[in-house]
C-alpha cells in the first residue's frame, strides 16, 4: 500500500492537480461565482475542444514526434463540412461530423505518409503542412466567413444540446453540454487504445526507444501512420464542435492557437523526447490553461496578458522537467 502511495506521488500530475486546487481556491475567494456548477459547466463546454486537440497532440508527443498542423486540419474540416452542408442543403449534424472527420483523416494521412515513409523530421514537416493545408483551404475553398444566419441549423442545435438541465432561481436554465460527453468519449477511446491495444503499446515503445521498437518487431510505419491519421480525426471532431460553439465560421480561426494546446500538454507532464506522460496529465493541463485564460481579468490582468502567460508557462514547466532530466544524465555520466 505504501508503495502505491509513493508511486502516485512520483507522478508529476499530482502536483499539477494540487496547483489547480490551490488556484481555484484563490480564484473563488476573489470571485465566489467561480466555484459554481454553472461556471464549471461553462468551463467544460468551452474547453472541451481544446481538450480533444490536446489529447491528439499528446499521443503524437508520446511517440516521440510533434505535430503542429492540427489547427489547420481542424479549421479545414470545419469549413469544408459547413460549406458542403450549405451547398447540398442537407441539415444533418452527423453528416457534418462525417465530412469533417474524413477531411481530418485525409490530411492526417498526408502527415503520416511524409513522416513514416519518407522519415522526415516531424516538426518541420508539420510546419510545412500547417502552411500548405491552411493555404490550400483559403486559396481553393474560400475565405468567406459564414455568419450565424447562413449557418445550417444542425450546428446551432447541436451547440445547444445538453445532457441534463438545471434551473436557476429565476426560472432560467443551464445545463451540462454534450461536449462533455464527446470529450469523455474521446478520452476513453484514446485511453483504451493506448492501454489495451498493441498499437497503443507500440506508440509507447517507439517513444521510449525507437531502435528497440524496431528490433522487437513493431510495425513502425503503420503505427506512425495511424497516429497522424488519428490526430486528424480528432481535429475533425473539434472543428465541428468549434463551429457549433461559436455559431460562426471564419476560415482564419483556430490556426494560431497551437501554443495554448502545446502548453497544456507540456504542463501535463508529457516529455518532448517521448514515451512519458498521461491523458490525465494532459486534461489537467487543459484545465489549468483554460482557467487561466478565462480568469486573467479576475486576477487584474487584461486579456492581452494571455500570450505572455502561455509562453511563460511553457518555459517554466519544461525548465523544471528538463533540468531534472539533465541532473539525472550528469549523475550517470551519459553525455547527451
Amino acid at each position: 500500500m505504501k508503495k502505491k502511495i509513493k508511486r502516485i506521488f512520483s507522478h508529476s500530475e499530482i502536483y499539477l492537480f494540487f496547483i489547480i486546487i490551490i488556484f481555484s481556491i484563490i480564484l473563488t475567494s476573489i470571485n465566489p461565482s467561480f466555484l459554481t456548477l454553472e461556471n464549471l459547466f461553462d468551463l467544460i463546454k468551452s474547453s472541451a475542444g481544446m481538450g480533444i486537440l490536446a489529447v491528439g497532440f499528446f499521443i503524437v508527443l508520446l511517440s516521440g514526434g510533434i505535430d503542429v498542423s492540427f489547427t489547420a486540419i481542424a479549421i479545414a474540416g470545419q469549413y469544408i463540412s459547413a460549406n458542403v452542408l450549405m451547398a447540398t442543403g442537407v441539415d444533418n449534424i452527423y453528416l457534418a461530423f462525417l465530412i469533417s472527420c474524413s477531411v481530418g483523416i485525409l490530411l492526417g494521412a498526408i502527415n503520416g505518409l511524409l513522416i513514416s515513409v519518407f522519415k522526415l523530421p516531424t516538426l518541420i514537416v508539420t510546419l510545412g503542412t500547417l502552411s500548405a493545408f491552411h493555404g490550400a483551404l483559403l486559396a481553393f475553398v474560400g475565405t468567406k466567413a459564414i455568419n450565424t444566419a447562413e449557418l445550417p441549423d444542425c450546428f446551432k442545435v447541436f451547440g445547444h444540446n445538453n445532457i441534463f438541465v438545471l434551473t436557476r432561481a429565476d426560472g432560467t436554465s443551464y445545463g451540462l453540454s454534450v461536449y462533455a460527453l464527446i470529450l469523455l468519449g474521446v478520452v476513453i477511446m484514446s485511453w483504451l487504445i493506448l492501454k489495451y491495444t498493441m498499437l497503443g503499446r507500440g506508440i509507447h515503445a517507439i517513444g521510449g526507444n525507437r531502435d528497440s521498437a524496431v528490433r522487437a518487431g513493431f510495425n513502425i510505419v503503420g503505427i506512425q501512420f495511424f497516429i497522424y491519421c488519428y490526430v486528424g480525426f480528432l481535429a475533425g471532431i473539434m472543428g465541428v464542435m468549434h463551429i457549433s460553439l461559436l455559431r460562426y465560421s471564419n476560415p482564419m480561426y483556430i490556426v494560431g492557437t497551437e501554443l495554448g494546446v502545446i502548453a497544456a500538454v507540456v504542463l501535463g507532464g508529457a516529455r518532448i523526447t517521448g514515451g512519458t506522460g498521461s491523458i490525465i496529465g494532459t486534461l489537467l493541463g487543459v484545465v489549468m490553461i483554460s482557467i487561466l485564460e478565462k480568469n486573467l481579468v479576475l486576477m487584474g490582468l487584461s486579456s492581452y496578458w494571455h500570450q505572455l502567460f502561455v509562453g511563460l508557462i511553457i518555459i517554466i514547466s519544461v525548465s523544471i522537467t528538463s533540468y531534472q532530466n539533465k541532473r539525472r544524465g550528469i549523475r550517470s555520466l551519459t553525455f547527451r
Partner: protein
C-alpha cells in the same frame, strides 16, 4: 565530388533558370528597375531572419522565436521613436533618439537570444520547446506593451533605413549583404564558427574536444537574436509602423529557405551562400507570384508545399547516394 558546394551550384542554376523563365513570360513587369528595387528591399528583412534561423540550425537546434524577437524589439524601438520624439525637437536630438532606439532594439534582441540560449544550454531544455516558449513570451510582452494596437509615425530620418537608397541600391539590401558577409566570415573563419559547426555535428565529441558547449550555444542564440533585431529595425522602418503579430508567415518561409539552401536540420552543415541564393530564389518567386496576382493564401500553400517537396527530394537524393556508396564497396 564538389562536396558542400555542389548543392549551392545546383541552387544557383535554379535561380538563374527562374530569372530566365520570368524574363521570358512576364518581361514587362519583371525586368524593371522598380521590380528589382522592390525585391531588393523585401529580401533583407526576411533574409536576416533566414540567417538567424540558420545559425541556430547549424548547432542542430532551431529558433522558433526569431519572429517574436523582431516583434518585441520592433515594439520597443517604436515606443522610443514615438514617445520620446516631439515635433519641436531639433534635428540633432532626433538623430540621437533614433540611434538610441536602434541601440536599445539591438540590446534587447541580444537579451532575448540570451534567454533562449541559457534555457537550452544551462537548463537543458530541448531547442524546440525552449524557443516555442520564448516565442510566446516575447510576443506576449510585445502585446502587453502595445495593448494589441499598432504604433505608427516615426521620424523621417529613421525611415531612410527602410526606404532610402544609396545610389540605386536600397539601404536594407546593403545592410543585409554586409550582415551575410559578416556571418559567413564568423562561420567559416573564426573559432566560434568552426565550433558551432562541430558542435552541430556531434555534441558529445564536442565536449570531449574541449569545446565549451554551453557558451557556444548561448552565443549562437544571441547571434540569432541579434540578426532578428536588425531585421526588426529594417522592418519597422520600411512600413513606418509596428503591430505585434506581424511577420509570422516568415517563420515557415525562413525554414523553407534554409532547407532549400542546403542546411541540414540535424546540424553541422550548411553554407551562407546557399541560404542567400535560397532567399533570392524565394524572393523571385514571391515577386513573380505578385505579378501574376496570386492570392496570399495561394502563396501560403505553395510555400508549405515547396518545403515538403524539397525535403522529399533531399531524402531521395540521400538514399541514392547511400546506395551508390554501398555499390562502390561491394561491386
Amino acid at each position: 565530388m564538389l562536396g558542400k558546394y555542389s548543392k549551392t551550384i545546383v541552387l544557383f542554376t535554379i535561380m538563374v533558370g527562374i530569372i530566365i523563365i520570368m524574363s521570358i513570360f512576364i518581361p514587362d513587369k519583371f525586368l524593371t528597375v522598380i521590380n528589382f528595387q522592390s525585391m531588393a528591399s523585401q529580401i533583407p528583412e526576411f533574409g536576416l531572419l533566414a540567417l538567424a534561423m540558420m545559425i541556430a540550425m547549424m548547432t542542430g537546434g532551431i529558433d522558433l522565436s526569431v519572429v517574436s524577437i523582431t516583434n518585441l524589439t520592433g515594439v520597443i524601438a517604436a515606443v522610443i521613436l514615438t514617445k520620446l520624439v516631439s515635433p519641436q525637437m531639433g534635428e540633432g536630438l532626433i538623430t540621437l533618439i533614433i540611434i538610441l532606439a536602434i541601440l536599445v532594439a539591438i540590446i534587447s534582441s541580444l537579451v532575448c537570444g540570451l534567454l533562449s540560449g541559457v534555457l537550452i544550454a544551462y537548463v537543458g531544455v530541448p531547442p524546440i520547446l525552449a524557443t516555442l516558449g520564448t516565442m510566446g513570451l516575447f510576443l506576449g510582452i510585445a502585446i502587453v506593451i502595445t495593448e494589441g494596437h499598432g504604433i505608427t509615425g516615426f521620424p523621417d530620418k529613421f525611415l531612410f533605413i527602410g526606404s532610402g537608397t544609396i545610389w540605386i541600391i536600397p539601404v536594407p539590401f546593403i545592410i543585409f549583404i554586409v550582415c551575410a558577409l559578416i556571418v559567413a566570415l564568423v562561420l567559416n573563419k573564426t573559432s566560434l564558427g568552426l565550433s558551432i559547426q562541430m558542435l552541430g555535428s556531434n555534441p558529445v565529441a564536442s565536449w570531449f574536444a574541449g569545446i565549451s558547449n554551453n557558451s557556444i550555444l548561448v552565443k549562437t542564440y544571441m547571434i540569432s537574436g541579434l540578426l532578428a533585431g536588425i531585421s526588426s529595425v529594417i522592418m519597422i522602418s520600411r512600413v513606418n509602423s509596428m503591430r505585434p503579430g506581424y511577420g509570422y508567415a516568415y517563420l515557415l518561409t525562413a525554414i523553407l529557405v534554409i532547407v532549400l539552401g542546403g542546411v541540414n536540420p540535424s546540424g553541422g552543415f550548411g553554407t551562407i551562400t546557399g541560404v542567400v541564393v535560397g532567399v533570392i530564389i524565394l524572393q523571385l518567386l514571391q515577386s513573380g507570384f505578385n505579378i501574376l496576382a496570386f492570392s496570399p493564401f495561394f502563396k501560403k500553400f505553395i510555400w508549405g508545399f515547396m518545403l515538403l517537396l524539397v525535403m522529399v527530394i533531399n531524402f531521395i537524393i540521400a538514399k541514392y547516394q547511400q546506395r551508390s556508396r554501398k555499390l562502390k564497396i561491394h561491386p
